[in-house]
């Protein structure tokens, strides 16, 4: 199966053919994949070299002239390294743009901590007006990238090598209901769904699926929680607790408890494989089951 990044490259290459407003800005990463697009659209496929401040600044400058910029590199170099450019050149200047990252929290664990970005969504959460998509499958990535380019705002699309076995329909920004139950609500974000379903298959819980986490689907969670009291578990493929405050705000008028599961803050200083890091952070089916059943007292 192709990866989300493969699908992004194919999708965006087609969109460059279709939409003269779209400009792709690269900082060497994925340049090979976009070689044909760069030949076809030399003015709109722009590689600035290994210069991530310029990657965002130039993208924002393109937006100032009316273009729709899509900026792409690994998450750590797209959001964390040039964070002030993201904050000022896009947000403060009041222009839109699409950030599409690869690498996620530990897509390449053998590469070590420099190429891990568990904090990207939490960082963007300090800014106003960002839509954040976390697709769980290449099909979803394709739909969400298309949607992001066609919109006008500031959108982050977080691609990962981790993927669910099947894609789910991308209908709107809201959470979708995968299963209904009475013992609590578990929200699975993007590629965490398969492990959440494996961990909760025999449990009487509602499972919601979120491929879009910002804006946070307050109404969707509120509806799933019912009249309360409510217990909610959020399983995210990035920093644990990133969406706990948003869920808490959604349930402010109900007695509730929230458990935020995700990548731990402590640096593991381990290489290895993605599956080993999922296990280390308690995000494999076994680890999730233990913590979910413990919290929900099931």
């Amino acid at each position: 199966m192709d990866t989300m990044r493969d699908r992004f490259i194919a999708t965006t290459s087609r969109q460059l053919d279709e939409d003269p407003r779209l400009a792709l800005v690269l900082a060497e990463i994925s340049r090979d994949g976009f070689a044909a697009a760069e030949r076809a659209h030399p003015d709109r496929v722009i590689n600035v070299g290994i210069r991530e401040q310029l990657l965002i600044g130039a993208g924002a400058g393109l937006a100032l002239t009316g273009m729709r910029p899509l900026m792409h590199t690994f998450a750590s170099f797209l959001v964390e390294r040039p964070f002030e450019q993201v904050k000022l050149d896009l947000g403060h200047q009041g222009v839109g743009g699409v950030l599409v990252s690869a690498g996620a929290s530990y897509d390449w664990p053998a590469g070590g901590f420099t190429h891990m970005s568990p904090g990207d969504v939490a960082l963007l959460d300090t800014l106003d007006g960002w839509t954040v998509h976390v697709p769980g499958h290449p099909d979803e990535a394709e739909a969400l990238v298309r949607q992001a380019v066609a919109s006008e705002g500031r959108v982050y699309v977080r691609l990962s090598l981790q993927s669910n076995s099947a894609g789910r329909p991308v209908t709107g920004d809201g959470f979708s209901t995968v299963r209904r139950g009475t013992g609590g609500v578990v929200i699975a974000v993007g590629p965490m769904l398969d492990n959440v379903l494996a961990a909760t298959g025999d449990l009487d819980v509602t499972v919601l699926y979120a491929a879009t986490v910002r804006p946070f689907d307050t109404a969707g969670l509120r509806a799933a929680a019912g009249a309360g009291p409510s217990d909610v578990v959020i399983v995210e493929p990035y920093l644990a607790g990133t969406s706990t405050a948003a869920a808490n705000d959604a349930l402010a008028d109900l007695p509730h408890r929230i458990l935020g599961l995700g990548v731990g803050r402590a640096e593991l200083r381990r290489y290895g494989q993605l599956e080993e890091h999922l296990t280390a952070h308690g995000l494999d089916a076994h680890g999730l089951r233990q913590r979910i059943t413990g919290f929900l007292r099931l």
Partner: protein
Amino acid sequence: MTNTTSAPVYGYDDLNRLMSLMTGDEKHGPAATSTLDALWVLYDRVLRVTPATAGSPDRDRFLLSKGHGPMAYYAVLAARGFFGEELLPGFGSYDSPLGHHPDRLLVPGAEIGSGSLGHGLPLAVGSVLGLRAQGLTGPGVWVLTGDAELDEGSNHEAIAYAGPAGLDQLHTVVIDNGSATYARPGGIAARFEAAGWSALSVDGRDHEALHTAFTMPHPGRPHAVIARVAAAH
């Protein structure tokens, strides 16, 4: 390069009075006016942008990257009719659109908001790329930075890219008042030239010299004008 078409509301001799409306001072020292002459020559004789064309796709763009000490900039924009002088006395107050750093969403005629140093050049690079992608090869994009602002590494990402990329619609005016603690060995112009730019150093108070430098042909290369003014200290 043609001149702007509409007459200014005020002339160069009014700028000190307009600045006084903001500062409360009758006279202004070198620091407050370091950008004044370059700004005036640009808006009076070089930039093809007026209040009437401020939203036009084919206007020239001026990006004030050195956002601190913007009184001279506001005075020039008021003199050119982008907004009325009645806004000037409120400078920095809660209800005023005119802050101690400009905000493009508040100041008529301001192409970017600035204050944090080193953002203008990358934004200008992208603006040139955006104009070029839309077939707009006529408009110039101008950035004003300070010499100490060039300490910021983001500028060097932009300088090092723009030269080899041949962005000849891009212009940088460096106001050099010797405020960088570690001045560039070989001078500022040499730094730009090494990256493939056309570059020229001139007296930043000499209007004819500035105009000549601003309008010098630089085919295939971005252009930097280093405007030397009296030292800030």
